[in-house]
Symmetry: none
Subunit: 80 residues, 4 copies
DNA sequence: ATTGCGGTTTTTGCCC
DNA sequence: GGGCAAAAACCGCAAT
């Protein structure tokens, strides 16, 4: 077996190819997500508003409250 | 003067260097902005809330209203 | 059909859930990739060197594109 | 001192205005860069070819770093 | 342990 | 409107 500095070159190649394959899969999913956004847009929805609610749904209630409170505080301070 | 295809190589070089210099300046300003955010953080402020209000201040009143209305609509639809 | 503020709640919810599911899958793949890096590290490989190699393997094709583009530009500049 | 929700309004406003001013300056530079591209185009140069060249000039140093890092890794792998 | 930093990825804005 | 470049959020790493 080909070894370099006590390290298997074949092993390295295998690891790299696994990563590259997974990245390929990942790209496929990203493309699927893009497709859903296109579909949403075609149905009259607003993509960035959807992104915003998805972000909100990911956050815990307390985080959401804290963030909204902070923003509200700054807005009041600045008369926005 | 060195010309290639009726185009001055010196002129091209000059244009490129001007762009590179401007990009350098721009990077300097970006660093200054980062510094202000650090200062803000050290004074107890929240950087992302500051970013949010700056974004709001950049928007027109009507855009702000439209965006907030849309998000609010989606939130109600999803019981968020 | 259930509507809130002129939008179909069910349609919106469905789109959002599809996106969230896809993002979940995507995150799973990202985690798999991370796992391979951990495995590589445990096998004595250096993660950032692997990243560099993968980047080079990816870049080689885009670099070729860039180079071809540049060559084409020079050809135009030289009226060849 | 004017405070709203436990924060110093004046301090916040000052920080925000400094950031906004810097962003204004930054935008000015970005516009200058755009102008140089327009000038280049008017002089018969191809903007995207110039971008490519600038990217190459920038990349050459980071590429060199990456390459050196990789070489170092290989040296370690080979116990050289 | 906590926090700043560098790099990666995602999002936004822009030009074509 | 679709692709591309810049900005911003996110993450793991390291250093203290």
């Amino acid at each position: 077996m080909t070894e370099v500095g006590g390290i298997s070159v074949d092993r390295l190649r295998s690891l790299i190819e696994r990563i590259e394959n997974l990245e390929e899969e990942k790209k496929g999913i990203s493309d699927d997500i893009k497709d859903v956004y296109v579909e949403a847009k075609n149905a009259g929805f607003d993509a960035s508003a959807i992104r915003a609610v998805i972000k909100l749904r990911k956050m815990s209630q307390s985080d959401r409250d804290a963030q909204e409170f902070l923003l509200e505080t700054y807005r009041k301070a600045l008369d926005l």
